[in-house]
Amino acid sequence: MTEAHSIVPSDELPAVHTPPGREVAVELVGVHKWYGEFHVLKDINLKVKRGERIVICGPSGSGKSTMIRCINRLEEHQQGSIVVDGVELTNDLKRIDEIRREVGMCFQHFNLFPHLTILENCTLAPIWVRKMPKKDAEELAMHFLKKVKIPEQAGKFPGQLSGGQQQRVAIARALCMKPKIMLFDEPTSALDPEMVKEVLETMVSLAEEGMTMLCVTHEMGFARQVANRVIFMDAGQIIESNEPNAFFSNPQHERTKLFLSQILH
């Protein structure tokens, strides 16, 4: 919050400060969630340390997206507690806004604003939420667009970009808010093989800068290369959680074994 007005001086992002006592970025304790009668999330316990990079995988419909969306309160949970960046999520609108400012999200379907240009998509939040001067916001946006290798598309509208390019804009847009935590929901679904590679490279470079990341993906290459921990979900529960090498080479749970056997065909 305090450094919100400073502009990025060089190509390097400032290192993430870790205030004392706040080394835990996200903590979910006994979280349950229902959609009507349907029990989607069951007793989720998860502690993400600052700077940690977590990959979440699991079959379709297992509740991965739901969990991620609970973290920035796009969905409400009914039981248990979620603490993000030291603030517990309640119905208090002020706090939710505060947290959303610090948590970036990159949607499965991008959700770019089709009526705004790429640049405007990226500057919207910095200008209206961070009250950043327009010029600074644009500079910042161009910085991140360069980072995802599409600065030349800044003036176009989302509808004019290919899927891969849109995906990268979504990432840049989230980064422009300089969030402390990033949530990615299947950032490479529906992409060409060549594009998959580019997007993953962007994320790897972010990871190298030490950002806290939660990423739903099935790109196991990415998990191996970047993650500190892999979480496997099924039927609304965390089934297994392990560091990548152990997870892939030596899955413990039966369900995990079955899933991995099908992916690595």
């Binding site: 229902w34 009507g36 529960q237 965390i238 560091e243 749970h253």
Partner: protein
């Protein structure tokens, strides 16, 4: 339950079973909290809203019920300082408001038409009722013919068809008639049919290489036309009731229903025309739509009454109600066309391609794939148009047709019921009647919209 290790490794040993959701937000207080007073501004709005209702409702109830007069035979009953609605007035005029000046001995015919209409419409509207095909046929084809015969008395005395206008038929057939049917007319009809079929064959042949389809189509159309005319021409011994004597709700419903039924196909055709790739067809459609959409219905009806006769051959003077019907139908068709066009635009190109790739012809594609989806999408818009149409029927008073409101206005002129509250009572009653019909349409459309929405049903 599960194994957790220090390094964050975690393996679930036992799967959790689904639990029922917690009942936290139930109960009256919970509901009130969540829906009414979730924040200060919300609370203020709630209180303001309740005040608004408290301000409007009581005087309305007082006028309609508490202070209202319920019995009486003439104006004397409804005079006085603090009198509410004068219901005896409505009671006295009720039959007129429904039937107009329809002869009282023949009103059973109107009742029968009403009854048949409801009996056929209800199963059509209940989506799960079977036999939709038969039902539609009965309602859209058989019912109008029957209603026409019942309401007018049939026996139209068909005398002139196309050739008759040029005085050609008289020479051949004279005035001879068999069983009340004029030979001249039917001879004329047959010759015209033959001519039209031939022309259709030629055009079809030129356009598509084979004229057979076009020719049989035309033949069918004429056969249908002939059958209907024949039915209408038969004398069933019913007394003739001119449309001039119709009135009240009967006229309102006749205009509204005919307008709705006739404007749909016309509107769809216009919408397709406007999206056509053929420039002339498109231009004609655009001109037609923009013209009718741009002028008030009042002037259209004016036009139909005072100017249309000028544009028709001397002596041709269509029935006043018919003129109004045509005017209303064309007017509504233009609106429907625009609404449908919106729906067509919303259908993704992929649907067209999917249909084409399967080898469907253009008309099959439209009928089976595109229109069902487009029309479902724009149900709210269509119903909006219908609601407008229903209310706009009041304008036919200009053409000296006494619809429901016109009949009410005529009732106002009765000095026996002239009181200060007569007007308000009449309008309150008319308001309730219009509201019932329009609200019914609006709700039904909502229901259909939800029913036909196949995209998110889990």
């Amino acid at each position: 339950m599960s194994l957790t290790f220090d390094d964050g490794t975690f393996i679930r040993a036992q799967m959790q079973t689904p639990l029922p959701p917690p009942r936290r937000n139930v109960g009256v207080i919970g509901w009130v909290r969540q829906n009414l007073f979730s924040s200060i501004s919300n609370g203020v709005l709630t209180i303001l809203g309740i005040l608004l209702v408290a301000w409007i409702l009581p005087p309305l109830l007082r006028f309609l019920l508490i202070d209202a007069v319920w019995t009486g035979d003439n104006r004397e009953a409804c005079l006085g300082a603090q009198v509410g609605a004068c219901w005896p007035f409505i009671k006295a005029k009720f039959a007129q408001l429904i039937y107009g000046f329809y002869p009282s001995g023949e009103r059973w015919r109107v009742d029968l038409v009403f009854f048949l209409g409801v009996a056929l419409l209800v199963p059509l509207l209940v989506l799960s009722w079977p036999h939709k095909r038969l039902n539609s046929f009965l309602f859209f084809v058989a019912y109008p013919i029957l209603a026409f015969i019942l309401l007018t008395g049939g026996n139209i005395g068909a005398s002139n068809f196309l050739l008759g206008h040029f005085g050609l038929m008289q020479m051949v057939a004279g005035d001879a008639s068999v069983a009340g049917l004029r030979l001249g007319f039917w001879l004329d009809f047959l010759i015209t049919t033959a001519l039209c079929v031939a022309v259709a064959y030629l055009i079809g042949r030129l356009a598509t290489g084979s004229g057979r389809g076009a020719a049989t189509m035309t033949a069918y159309v004429f056969a249908g036309l002939g059958a209907i005319t024949l039915l209408w021409d038969v004398d069933f011994g019913l007394e003739r009731v001119e449309t001039r004597q119709w009135g009240g709700l009967l006229v309102t419903l006749v205009i509204a229903v005919t307008g709705i039924v006739a404007s749909m196909p016309l509107g769809i055709a216009l919408a397709l025309g406007r999206r056509s790739k053929m420039p002339i067809v498109r231009l004609l459609s655009v001109i037609f739509i923009e013209f009718w959409r741009g002028v008030p219905l009042i002037t259209v009806l004016f036009f139909a009454t005072y100017m249309l006769p000028l544009f028709l051959p001397v002596g041709v003077n269509p029935d006043g109600l018919l003129r109004a019907l045509v005017g209303v139908a064309l007017f509504t068709a233009a609106y429907i066309a625009e609404v449908v066009r919106g729906g067509l635009q919303a259908i993704p190109k992929g649907q067209y391609e999917g249909a084409m790739a399967m080898g469907l012809t253009w008309s099959q594609m439209m009928r089976l794939i595109i229109l069902p989806q487009a029309l479902t999408l724009v149900i709210p818009g269509i119903v909006n148009s219908f609601i407008s149409l229903f209310k706009d029927t009041t304008l036919v008073l200009i053409v000296s047709i006494f619809d429901f409101l016109g009949q009410l206005r005529a009732a106002f002129t009765d000095p026996n019921w002239a009181t200060p509250v007569t007007l308000y009572t009449g309008f309150a009653f008319a308001g309730i009647v219009y509201f019932i019909f329009c609200f019914g349409m609006s709700r039904y459309s909502l229901f259909v919209e939800r029913r036909l929405n196949t995209s998110h049903r889990h």
